[in-house]
Amino acid sequence: GAGVSQSPRYKVAKRGQDVALRCDPISGHVSLFWYQQALGQGPEFLTYFQNEAQLDKSGLPSDRFFAERPEGSVSTLKIQRTQQEDSAVYLCASAGTGGNQPQHFGDGTRLSIL
């Protein structure tokens, strides 16, 4: 498709389980971002990739969160030993090169930790 694709759309996991969320950006977009959106809040930055390089991971809340983009296209956000506070919508966005560019978002993965 032409847009950013995320899977799964919904994920339910038990506390302590590991989860993996996938993002397929717009073809040709070198910049890829992950955001976390809690209920009633705006998206909050987690991490940023330029091609395969993770240039900023300052927003990752703990070392249980890990992201990768090994071939500079598809990205995976992994959360280990999930906790209830990890419940949120995880949004992926991609952007083209050049100066200020709008980021284009996928529909997100809604993660619920029981």
Binding site: V4, Q6, S31, F33, Y35, G40, Q41, G42, P43, E44, F45, Y48, Q50, L55, D56, G59, L91, A93, G99, N100, Q101, P102, Q103, H104, F105, G106, D107, G108
Partner: protein, 115 residues
């Protein structure tokens, strides 16, 4: 701390009238501002943006105004239509060449356009 603030959680407007959504920010280094529209169970959709070198940008029914001295931006929708009913997020960024430009989002304003 919240660097981008939307102080009105909700707004209701009659169809055909003007909708004005407001946003304030605290970091004077922000140089790029955007508005996103979000329907339930969908991701934010880019609506309109403005660079800090401008004070107005218009796209059809949507106009964004930027007041740098007041650290304030607004989105005007005229005329408002029922399909405009959604949550609107403002976002801001400053571009660092080596780390990209993460966006800082407000908490959103839910707009309801009444037919």
């Amino acid at each position: 701390d919240q660097q981008v603030k939307q102080n009105s959680p909700s707004l209701s407007v009659q169809e055909g009238r003007i909708s004005i959504l407001n946003c304030d920010y605290t970091n004077s280094m922000f140089d790029y501002f955007l508005w996103y529209k979000k329907y339930p169970a969908e991701g934010p959709t880019f609506l309109i943006s403005i660079s800090s070198i401008k004070d107005k940008n218009e796209d059809g029914r949507f106009t964004v105004f930027l007041n740098k001295s007041a650290k304030h931006l607004s989105l005007h929708i005229v005329p408002s239509q029922p399909g405009d009913s959604a949550v609107y997020f403002c976002a801001a960024s400053f571009f660092w060449t080596n780390t990209g430009n993460q966006f800082y989002f407000g908490t959103g304003t839910s707009l309801t356009v009444i037919p």
